[in-house]
Amino acid sequence: MLKRTFLAATGLALGLTMVTGAFAADPLKIVYIGKNTGNPYFDSITGGFEDACKSLGCEFQFVAPATAEATSQIPFIEAQIQRGVNVIAIAPNSPDALNQVLDSAKAKGILVLTVNGDLVGNEGHRDATILPVDFTKTGPNQVELMGSLIGYKGEIAILSATTEAPDQNTWIAAMNKTLVEDAKYKDMKLVATVYGDDQPEKSTTEMEALLSNFPNLVGVIAPTTVGVAAAAQVVQSRGIADKVHVTGLGLPSEMRDFVKDGTVTAFQLWSPYNEGWLAAHFAVGVIGGTIKNEVGSTFEVPTLGTIKIEEKNAMNTQAELTTFDASNIDNFNF
């Protein structure tokens, strides 16, 4: 492993030392910094980057710290600046602790993209963001899926990630709003929102507590991959799948067994692969001058069609969430 990296590094170095002014001749170097290593979600995003770079002729590398705490990505960003990459794409571990180091990357002329997570409230410290869907859709989509599973009637609860997780909180607010405002859901009652901190142990105990505290519960929405798997496992081991319906946002690879044995009827997500695919195409286009990174401009991406740059330089890979159930889950391998 070490040897291979070493060879790669020297090879790269030879390439770099010769050029400093002639960027055009040199392949574009893109790095994606994940939240942490060993997170299956990022394997799929990385796959999108790799395939795009194969067809576009850029160099791609994935790096990530061992843990996902707020500051663990900083040395990695510093190192990539030092390496002289052209594009830093990152799934930020903190909405604001990276501001300074990302600014110094931008000052060096590096294109800074956030992929699959944004610097909420600090958008000025990156150039653009690539998100899987318009996150205002997530809440209503999930409520509709839950409603269809329980016949639009009964007590439901939400099992989320951490209390301050910005994405989840946006979605939960939208779910609440949808439940209150849309008459279609007037018989569905949200009785509790609990937080499993994206840890399997904690999510499991929270799920068990939900079932004890609310014996009439008919459904649980878990808009986080760890939470939905933990909730499904509790339901599976208690054998109450016909009484309590679990849905949420999950990875097909983690949920496949639950769908096959009937514990979970359906759940949703987007394609992480397409995020990487879009990010690479966007980066190459912007640096090559074929895409203008301005709100309102549009460009074409193979297989995704026309992409429009929305407010705050945000792009989405798909309009609505993908729903996975027994009929289609085998078509997805991430």
């Binding site: 060993g38 951490t162 209390t163 609990v194 901190d197 105990t205 068990e208 081991s237 690879s253 496949r256």
Partner: protein, 333 residues
């Protein structure tokens, strides 16, 4: 001295009383806490910690400490997970589902033995060696797995069944395994020569070799056992949670286990500690963990509560010890 006074000087009685009072207090606020169903939940929270705590207890009684067990758990679970993911059809037969159990135990035992060798043969402090192997073994987990998670679909359903199906009374296998390990540990420590020697080297490491105890052999044994039990906890992690992740699996396990052991009255100065105390320590942690979400206490306060529980246990331990010394003095006078 009256029977009652002796009973209350016993550490185990103190923890048992704490557990009862705690459960009653929670039960008053939330009656559903005092149900059989809730007991099942509490029990299901504890088996991994209990198995790890048995190993850690032996190590601490021998006046060492093993900080690496979380990473040992990770490596052993990962090795078995990779075996399950490995396509062995060309071998001509399927790998039976239970292969992971001995495999993980052996891997864990080897890693534990490595700790023991470094500590005993190089005469190094256990806390630093295992701090080093905590990091080293975690790195190993990433390297052997190429930083890829073993997903649910690869873990055999029979293995997952150990945490879900029950031989009797609706109590899953995994809980019987944990209590079985506790009983075996009790028999080993109380009724075998080697077991007594663990206490001997812990209470007085200088005197032990003079009494003909092979300190090297006993030390290597406790670290190997601690590793093997962490390995067993590793395969049961795969059973309980249905996946093995290179970074999450077992991380922080050492803190939970040490907390349980210390609360259970095992003295960090070696030579003192019982299986019963440790079991009660584990159960108390389980009760706290199950009660917090029921009471609606946010996860953010959990760490502070754990910290406070450890410090309170230390204070109680000290008070009990001082009373013991005082009563000894009185008896002598």
């Amino acid at each position: 001295m009256s029977f009652l006074a002796t009973l209350f000087r016993r550490r185990e009685a103190g923890i048992a009383v704490m557990i009862v009072l705690f459960c009653l207090a929670v039960g008053i606020a939330k009656p559903q806490f005092l149900t059989l169903d809730q007991m099942r939940i509490i029990l299901l929270l504890t088996p991994l910690i209990m198995i790890g705590a048995m190993g850690q207890m032996m190590v601490i009684v021998a006046r060492h400490v093993d900080l690496s067990i979380g990473s040992t758990l990770g490596v052993s679970a990962m090795v078995s997970g990779m075996l399950y993911r490995f396509d062995a059809t060309w071998l001509g037969f399927d790998v039976p589902w239970w292969t992971g159990i001995p495999l993980s135990i052996v891997v864990g035992a080897l890693l534990g033995l490595a700790n023991g060798v470094l500590i005993q043969l190089f005469r190094l402090p256990a806390i630093i060696v295992t701090l080093g192997t905590l990091s080293l073994y975690r790195g190993l987990t990433f390297i052997i797995s190429n930083a890829k998670q073993i997903d649910r679909q690869w873990i055999p359903s029979e293995l997952k069944g150990l945490s879900q199906t029950s031989p009797i009374l609706g109590i899953p296998w995994i809980i019987f395994i944990a209590f079985g390990i506790a009983i075996l540990t009790y028999v080993f420590l109380m009724h075998t020569r080697l077991g007594r020697q663990v206490y001997a080297i812990g209470s007085n490491p200088v005197a032990a070799p003079l009494r003909g105890i092979n300190v090297t052999q006993v030390t290597l044994l406790v670290f190997t056992l601690s590793g093997a039990l962490a390995g067993l906890a590793g395969i049961l992690y795969a059973s309980r949670w249905g996946f093995v992740n290179p970074s999450n699996t077992g991380s922080g396990f050492e803190f939970q286990v040490i907390a349980a052991v210390v609360i259970g009255g095992v003295s960090i100065n070696g030579g003192v500690g019982t299986v019963l105390g440790t079991v009660l320590g584990v159960l108390l942690l389980g009760c706290v963990a199950a009660a917090l979400p029921l009471l609606g206490i946010p996860g953010t306060s959990q760490a502070a509560i754990y910290g406070a529980v450890i410090l309170i246990a230390l204070l109680i331990d000290r008070t009990v010890r001082q009373q013991g010394i005082a009563s000894l003095r009185r008896a002598r006078a």
